[in-house]
């Protein structure tokens, strides 16, 4: 159920983001449904496989998509699959997609594929500890190790939850390849991180990547929404709207960080994770 919702919602989310951004910039812009049409268009096209590429080239988009969808099934937006430690599986399913995406980009044999792969791997390495620590801290403070049964927000866990929320939102920006970490709108290969990996994929392969990236962003928003003191569906929808507004504002009025400065920003992610964990272990209270 959650996976179906996220899949259907992903193109609307990215389309709305483009639409809101256009309006904030005083542009007309395409309508919010544009990404449904985009995906439809891409799905109908043929695709090109570089001469140097092997089967891994096709595995990249497929597993990226599969990983994102499987992760989404375990998100408790609607009651579904749930077991002890599922939050770790969710995170690593999302990372599985990235692993194969990096391999596929390397497989394409172009200089930019390799460049995108090592840059995105660096971003992943910098983001992962913060995300894991934050979610683990939340799970530990709930004394329940599954996403569906996290403790509701209360005075006891307010600090831990706030830190975890900060870490998750930073992860969303980094993992979703959005500003100020990456610029999804750029056409300049040398500045690309995530997009450089997709340059050689076309047609339905590109559509899979686009859809996977939308689902991934929504998954992070869903994870963050679990920390809000509302029913899961309501919290998720609220988080999506807030995420949309936040991203649109950052991407309109913000400036992208220099690539070599990324560690400065993502340190805060790890720091928030560590503090949340300390909060649990040392039982900080407000």
């Amino acid at each position: 159920m959650s996976a179906v919702l996220l899949l259907l919602l992903a193109p609307l989310f990215t389309g709305c983001l483009k639409w809101v951004k256009a309006r904030l910039q005083n542009r007309q812009g395409p309508g919010p449904l544009i990404d449904y049409f985009n995906l439809l268009k891409l799905a109908q096209k043929s695709y090109i496989v570089p001469e140097t590429a092997s089967a891994v080239f096709l595995l990249g988009p497929s597993l990226s998509f599969l990983g994102a969808v499987l992760a989404a099934t375990m998100l408790p937006v609607f009651p579904g699959l749930s077991f002890t430690g599922d939050f770790l599986l969710v995170l690593y399913l999302l990372n599985l997609g990235r692993f194969f995406q990096a391999l596929a980009a390397l497989d394409s044999g172009s200089a930019f594929g390799g460049q995108g792969s090592y840059r995105e791997s660096l971003v992943a390495v910098l983001t992962e500890p913060g995300t894991i620590l934050a979610l683990s801290a939340v799970a530990l403070s709930s004394q329940e190790l599954s996403l569906a049964s996290l403790a509701p927000l209360s005075a006891q866990n307010l600090l831990v939850y706030a830190l975890a929320l900060a870490a998750l939102l930073l992860s969303l920006v980094a993992e979703g390849a959005r500003m100020p970490v990456d610029d999804p709108a750029t056409h300049l290969e040398l500045t690309m991180i995530h997009e450089a990996q997709l340059l050689d994929h076309s047609g339905p392969l590109l559509a899979l990547y686009e859809l996977a990236s939308g689902v991934k962003m929504l998954s992070y928003l869903a994870l963050a929404s679990l920390l809000l003191p509302l029913s899961h569906v309501l919290a998720f929808l609220l988080m999506v709207v807030l995420g949309l507004a936040g991203l649109a504002i950052i991407e309109t009025y913000g400036v992208r960080l220099r690539y070599l400065r990324l560690p400065d920003l993502l340190t805060y992610n790890t720091l928030a994770g560590i503090l949340a964990m300390l909060g649990v272990v040392l039982r900080f209270r407000i």
């Binding site: 542009r27 300049l188 913000g254 400036v255 220099r258 690539y259």
Partner: protein
């Protein structure tokens, strides 16, 4: 003054092979002087004066001659000749080839980076993908046709057409009426405005500051609309002719252009004012892509890129109608300095236009020319820097045309600017020079 003396005190404006001679036009403190050397005695001076490097390569691949004392001559525009890229001695350094086909819709050029991790150790630029034998196309063309070609040489139609006209007017001894002279400069400044605003919008796009990029882009488009209102073409084509102008804007148009430009000038100033105070913008631009003053002088750089490195050189200083004129100069030579020069020059251009249009001389906009055999040259300050034209007439038709686009002199500056910078910062750095590929490739 000998060639060496002139080069020591100045920089080359244009160097080209002309029949049995290699001709040098050099900018010296005494003004632009003209020297020539017989081809048989042509000596390489690029080792001592790096500003001659590209000129020597261009002449050599065109004529097949090799200047005495030069061994590492690489072709500049031709791709049918062997070419060896620089190889860094350190094996840890790997090469990243970029272009000539890019992910966006931009002109083709090949950039070969030697990088250690993300740090650029060396950048080698290879152009010529748009070499279309532009100069040769002029041979045998009547003036009406030739000026159409001149407008299509580089990215600045008005500047090229005006320099072409002035070269021919010098050759034939024609003096355009005063009204035409002023209106031509109005067109040139309008071109500078939309070009500079285009560079600035591009800079903001490259750092992902989409709000400022879109607002500046809008002002740029509206400024081009004023150009269209003024002369019937958004890029200012088909307005100039040898001896004056084709267009004769009426009073209502002139007033309307003046008023609209004033409003656009204020809007541009407002957006640029807050955009260049944004700390994140400053963080991206400051200390990036530095070209020291010495390097700018050594490479003979021109235009805003040179002025951002502290070279106080703007050909409008010699333009009688621009007086009094102070060039916009910034120290530092980084991306921020170049951005500030574009910003400030845009403001100056709006002021100049307003000044000229408020007090426009009356009279005709064209004087007849008497075609005579002979040659003439002219150079003027376009948005990107110094445009040079040399034209020789024979039997009422163009016999030889020679062009030097400002980008030709500034590309080597980009190689210097990228030394030690991060690879992901290249596009921003490149944009801050805003070089024309078509203009250099000819």
């Amino acid at each position: 003054m000998t060639l060496i003396q002139a080069l020591e005190s100045g920089r080359p404006v244009a160097v080209f092979a002309d029949g049995e001679n290699v001709r040098y036009f050099l900018d010296t403190p005494a003004g632009v002087i003209h020297l020539s050397t017989p081809v048989s005695q042509w000596q390489s001076l690029a080792g001592r004066f790096p500003s001659l490097d590209w000129f020597e390569r261009a002449i050599s691949e065109e004529t097949g001659l090799i200047p005495a004392g030069r061994d590492n001559l690489k072709p500049l525009r031709r791709h049918d000749l062997p070419y060896a890229f620089y190889r860094h001695p350190d094996l840890e350094v790997h090469q990243v080839p970029v272009g000539p086909v890019h992910a966006g819709i931009i002109e083709p050029g090949h950039f070969r980076f030697s990088v250690l991790g993300e740090r650029v150790q060396n950048l080698e630029i290879r152009l010529g993908y748009q070499h279309r034998g532009m100069e040769k196309l002029f041979t045998g063309k009547a003036l009406d046709q030739a000026i159409l070609l001149a407008e299509r040489v580089g990215s600045e139609p008005v500047a090229h057409a005006l320099a072409f006209c002035r070269a021919l007017e010098a050759a034939t001894g024609t003096q355009p009426p005063r009204r035409a002279q002023v209106l031509r400069l109005v067109l040139l400044e309008m071109e500078r405005i939309f070009q500079h605003l285009g560079h600035l919008a591009g800079l903001f796009t490259d750092i992902g500051y989409s709000f400022a990029a879109v607002q500046i882009g809008k002002v740029r488009a509206l400024a081009q609309g004023q150009l269209e209102k003024f002369c019937g073409h958004r890029y200012g084509r088909n307005a100039l002719r040898v001896g004056g102008l084709w267009i004769e804007p009426d009073l209502i148009t002139l007033r309307s252009v003046q008023d609209d430009l004033e409003a656009l000038g204020q809007e541009a100033a407002e957006v640029l004012g807050y955009a260049l105070e944004n700390p994140m913008v400053l963080d991206r631009m400051r200390y990036l892509g530095e070209v020291p003053l010495e390097a700018a002088l050594e490479l003979g750089m021109v235009g805003p890129a040179a002025r951002a490195s502290g070279v106080a050189q703007d050909l409008r200083q010699d333009e009688p109608l621009c007086q009094p004129f102070n060039p916009v100069v910034r120290p530092g030579g980084d991306v921020l300095a170049r951005t500030q020069v574009y910003t400030e020059e845009t403001r100056v251009s709006f002021e100049l236009i307003d000044h000229w249009l408020s007090d426009l001389p009356d009279g005709p906009v064209h004087s007849d020319i008497t075609l005579s055999d002979g040659e003439g040259w002219a150079c003027l300050e376009a948005a990107r820097g110094e445009v040079f034209w040399f034209v020789r007439l024979d039997d009422g038709k163009v016999e030889t045309a020679r062009v030097v686009d400002p980008s030709f002199k500034n590309w080597p500056g980009l190689e210097v600017a990228m030394g030690g910078e991060g690879l992901p910062d290249f596009p921003l750095c490149n944009k801050s020079f805003d070089l024309s590929y078509a203009g250099s490739d000819l």
